[in-house]
Subunit: 84 residues, 5 copies
């Protein structure tokens, strides 16, 4: 699992039905790389979150049929103060 | 899921039947790295898209038997203006 | 499988039920990159551990339904002295 | 899926039976990194090919039981002239 | 699949039963990065080997229930002389 910070919600003009109706969030990793995840938790911009990848991401989204390879699975209270 | 920009369609002289009949697109990532995805959505060159990898890519292509590890799953309206 | 050193336990304010009740550890890889794993073994900060990723991580956590993509699967007695 | 150029066939002195009897090819990626794939298509040294990774690689090799994580799935006619 | 050179066997003070009883080898990749694999073949330090990752690694270890994400699947006779 990886640590990311939520930057903003993503709005798409066209998407596959199988992605479901969870919010889609843009994330930034510790090294600045961007990725995109489904969010069943309700994380807000600025929150530090844990993400789950691969097949477990589908289960984490609430349904093994959901189309995703990255899902937010938890919010960390305060990453900076923990990272010491 | 990752963010890529569509560069062009890919024409292959020989390919496995199991890849099906969806268009194949060459994508460029935010850091310039190239990859190749099936496109069930109809993205055009220049479009910014979301891609799904791993086993979910097969489902995203419309059939769990399709041979792919990367499938375009959505088009982002305007990545530059969102990325602020 | 990869080699990581345990840095500390991670406390989350909100997480998916499916992650279960195993401790969550923050790990640092040989190149300094951070990741997060479930810990069914009881590794302590400073321990060098082996991690299993992908679908096997779920089985390693004791239940194929557990939400994880990285699980600690063993403790190495003394990595520095082995790495010669 | 990724783009690779075939460099040569690989000869192994010992290998698991489950890898089957397809030719094994050494590939070089766009950034020079090397990898190894099963080849059900018959690509020749110098050919640019598309590879499929992860679980779909096993199906691409013709049998879900084949031991592989990377399989050549198509030949690109002329990568240099397409990459414009 | 990737090319690695075996460096040494790994001794663990504590490990999950599900990893089974195959030897565990530390490997070095072409770029020097280290990883750890199960070895059903009996590769010796200095041998160049092919590794299989992801779910196929479990099958390669002889049993889909084995806990691993990387398994040695073959020995290359002489990598240096082939790599020309």
């Amino acid at each position: 699992m990886d640590i990311h910070q939520v930057t903003h919600s993503l709005i798409m003009t066209s998407r596959l039905d199988g992605m479901g109706h969870l919010p889609i969030k843009v994330l930034k990793g510790v090294n600045g790389q961007e990725s995109v995840a489904l969010d069943p938790i309700g994380a807000r911009p600025g929150d530090w979150v844990i993400t789950i990848a691969f097949s477990a991401a589908r289960t984490a989204a609430g349904d093994d049929k959901t189309l995703t390879d990255l899902t937010i699975s938890g919010i960390i209270d305060d990453w900076s103060s923990q990272d010491c």
